[in-house]
């Protein structure tokens, strides 16, 4: 293989990408060396098993991915702003909408939410870490290297170009030779392993490590949403694992699952993909619901309205999410009966979703709302998400979907649910829990400015797209026609508004780091749940002692009784896990094995796989049992943190 086949050549935009990658990487290497931070990086971050630090790494990576996916989006919007603009050619456009969709769902939305879960769930339920901290680190590195593998495709080997849904036969070896599609398959496979492991890890953590007295139905809603999401992950991700593996075997080893030869069945891919894909969209929305529930209850200063209805509606949504997948390919033509069945099940999902909307409204009703930035996101979420949900029900009508399918109407629908739902929630959650994570709030003024830019930009971008869809503009079109010009232009303007909002959001992180007042109490927002009972910064063992939990709003109750998480009479040594470099090394090796497989260098891939197996053997014989934090040390830490 020649070097010019290995690297992507001939695209000025991609050359610019290469240059910036080289510059940023060398700058980072230089800074780490100059400030002698390599040891710090390895000890404090690469080998950590602390759920809080892993969560921070998830969120940082997700923000980077939001940036990458956002740049993709802006490039698409530029191309579509004017008819016949030759900013991107058809091939490049295909690659960009593929990477945009995949990155946003797999490498942005999920890791962002998992990052928040990582930090918050153990704190909310009164646990000292995950059930399996080592596995948690493994999960993070599997996500990280999966994302890396997917992202390098645009400079090495070429990006996948068959859409985030990657339908066969278009994505098959016959019509799509070369490494591009393999990057998609193996990048997702690598990160999927970590997601499944996280699902199991969170489920065991929540089921087994709750504070004394905290029954399942006394758990905060965000933790509930995490439990339900883990359930969906555990049962949906194996489907993706298999689907990806089958297409990989098709492409690399010549099997005939989804091919047009050998009596293969390309639509079977669509079937398997959406059996995972629909539960997946609920994996990214349920935690968002959880975040909004926490935010709304805190800033309405009220207990969440209809706690049980909230929980049961999530459980119902989780169950139903496995029964609707065909609504993504009504137009395959499985027949009136099959389509009707799935039409009905699809519309059923709107019922529990509606229940949740009314519960949030019920919480807000007659409350004294405190208009902080996280609360603004939550308030903007409710009406925006309703628009997305209602248009979803429209799409769910099989007969009508023959018109809407694969038009901009569909694009508008899922951006209304994914952005107004998931992205707003990520921003709200990050701003809400930011003081807990980093010891100071984000600046409210800048926060609100970025909120308004982003929210207005969002509606300006996507509301016109409903009408573009109704005017017949299909999705995945690299060149528009003059009759769609006005709405497309408006949409592009909105997209730059969102871009500015995001930029301001990130700037606010820097600005607040420099100027914000430091937190001293740990209870920044007059919180209701256990995470606010810890001091800030949180000691690495989280809780010195735990009171018995009596109420859903555990911390409200504790404040009334003057209880804290530090009861000197009950102190005992705390067992904590040790750091380990194994997760990083194991996943780095798996990354290299996957990279070799992308280029179909089988021998090399097997060599690295053997390396992974050796790491597993080492792990099996590893007797590291962690360490104890002694009572004296706990006393010292807590006294200085609490100013006693």
């Amino acid at each position: 293989m020649n070097l010019d086949e290995f690297f992507v050549t001939g695209e000025p935009l991609i050359y610019a990408g290469m240059v910036s990658i080289v510059l940023v990487t060398s700058a980072m290497i230089f800074l780490l060396t100059y400030f002698k931070k390599w040891g710090w990086l390895w000890r404090e971050w690469l080998t950590t098993v602390d759920h809080k630090k892993i969560g921070v790494m998830y969120i940082l990576s997700a923000l980077a991915m939001l940036f990458r996916g956002g740049v993709d989006a802006l490039m698409m919007r530029v191309q579509l702003a004017f008819p016949d603009l030759n900013f991107l050619n058809a091939q490049h456009y295909n690659e960009i909408f593929t990477t945009h969709g995949t990155i946003m769902i797999i490498f942005m939305a999920m890791p962002f939410l998992i990052g928040l879960m990582n930090i918050i769930v153990p704190l909310q339920i009164g646990a000292r870490d995950f059930a399996f901290p080592f596995v948690n680190a493994l999960s993070f590195w599997s996500f990280f290297f999966g994302a890396l593998l997917f992202n390098i495709s645009f400079v090495i080997g070429g990006s996948p170009d068959a859409g985030w849904t990657s339908y066969t036969p278009l994505a098959g070896a016959a019509m799509n030779p070369g490494p591009g599609q393999n990057f998609y398959l193996l990048g997702l496979q690598l990160s999927g392993i970590g997601t499944l492991a996280t699902g199991i890890n969170l489920m065991v953590t929540i089921l087994k490590m709750r504070a004394p007295g905290m029954k399942l139905f006394k758990m905060p809603i965000f933790s509930w949403s995490t439990l339900v999401t883990s359930f969906i992950i555990i049962f949906a991700f194996p489907i993706l694992t298999v689907a990806l593996a089958l297409m990989t075997i098709d492409r690399i080893f010549g099997s005939q699952f989804f091919t047009l030869t050998g009596e293969g069945l390309p639509m079977m891919w669509a079937n398997l993909f959406w059996m995972w894909g629909h539960p997946e969209v609920y994996i990214v929305i349920l935690p968002a619901f959880g975040i909004f529930s926490e935010v709304i209850a805190t800033f309405a200063k009220k207990r969440i309205f209809g706690y049980h209805a909230m929980v049961w509606s999530m459980i119902l949504i989780a169950g139903l999410s496995f029964l609707v997948w065909v609504h993504h390919f009504f137009t395959m033509g499985a027949g009136a009966f099959v389509n009707s069945v799935f039409s009905v099940s699809t519309m059923l999902i709107a019922v529990p979703t509606g229940v949740k909307i009314f519960n949030w409204l019920g919480t807000l009703y007659k409350s004294k709302i405190q208009f902080t930035t996280p609360m603004m996101w939550a308030l903007a979420f409710i009406p925006s998400f309703v628009i997305g949900g209602v248009t979803g029900v429209m799409l769910g009508m099989a007969a009508a979907d023959y018109q809407f399918h694969n038009s901009y109407f569909l694009i508008a629908h899922f951006h209304y649910v994914l952005i107004a739902g998931t992205v707003f929630a990520c921003f709200a959650g990050l701003e809400y829990w930011y003081p807990k994570m980093f010891g100071h709030k984000l600046n409210e003024k800048l926060g609100k400015l970025s909120f308004w830019l982003f929210v207005i930009g969002f509606h300006v971008t996507f509301l016109p797209q409903y009408f573009l869809g109704l005017d017949g503009m299909p999705r995945r079109l690299f060149d528009t026609a003059p009759e769609w010009f006005t709405l497309n232009f408006i949409s592009t303007v909105g997209a730059f508004g969102m871009g500015a909002g995001f930029a301001l959001f990130v700037f606010n992180i820097y600005y607040s780091y420099r100027t914000s007042q430091r937190e001293t109490t740990g209870d920044s927002w007059d919180g209701r749940t256990l995470e606010w009972a810890t001091p800030t910064p949180i000691p690495h063992y989280n809780f010195a002692t735990l009171p018995t939990i009596r109420d859903i709003d555990a911390f409200v109750e504790m404040k009334k009784r003057n209880e804290t998480t530090y009861d000197e009479s009950k102190l005992k040594p705390i067992h904590m896990p040790n750091n380990s470099g194994q997760p990083f090394i194991m996943m780095a090796l798996l990354f290299m094995a996957s990279f070799a497989l992308v280029f179909e260098w089988i021998t090399l891939s097997v060599i690295f796989l053997v390396g992974v197996l050796i790491m597993m053997v080492i792990r099996s014989f590893d007797e590291d049992d962690g360490h104890h934090v002694e009572v004296e040390e706990i006393k010292e830490t807590e006294r200085s943190l609490r100013g006693l």
């Binding site: 059930a131 399996f132 499944l196 699902g199 199991i200 890890n201 489920m203 065991v204 089921l207 087994k208 490590m209 555990i234 049962f235 949906a236 991700f237 194996p238 489907i239 694992t241 298999v242 689907a243 593996a245 089958l246 075997i249 098709d250 080893f253 010549g254 099997s255 005939q256 699952f257 091919t259 030869t261 050998g262 009596e263 293969g264 069945l265 079977m268 079937n271 398997l272 059996m275 067992h575 197996l613 053997v617 099996s620 014989f621 007797e623």
Partner: protein, 200 residues
Amino acid sequence: MSTNVNHAPLEYQTEHNQMSILGFWIFLAAEVVLFSTLFATYAVLFGRTADAPTPSELFELDIVLVMTFLLLTSSFTCGIAIHQMRHGSNKGLITWMIITLALGLGFLGFEVYEFIHYSHEGATLPSSAYWSSFYVLAGTHGLHVTLGIGWAILLLIQLFKKGITKVTSRKVFIISLYWHFLDVIWIFIFTSVYLIGMVV
């Protein structure tokens, strides 16, 4: 964090052990779905043999029955191994584990023989959609068995070195769950691939 639950088997005696075993059960539930996806693919692609031979021309009951009995017996001996472990007999545990692995190896040997035989008859992975799904379904199970054998050997070494401890008993118990589970999957492969493949 170790509350001792007296009289409970050793592998349940620490909270960490309980959580590991629970985590593994949940993992097995995920594996159920993983295999079900392969079964679904197999079922949908059934009959799509293209120019390759059909399954009813190739499947032979006797060899499949032998494989099934080997695996069933290994599941039984693995259960006995755990029984020995719970009676504190490291020797019994090791002996029965080795018998289990030998039976597992026998199963694998037959499977390899079977695959080679079919491919000589013109049914290979790329022959057709049907044969792709057959090889990947049976092969994924075979791969699990192979990994299980490798894993069990690691545990046998630990048992030789350290005997039955809280740690080793947990690990052995977990691999026994895995081994029985592979038998469960095989029952479904035996039924829905081989038996149904012979009548339809």
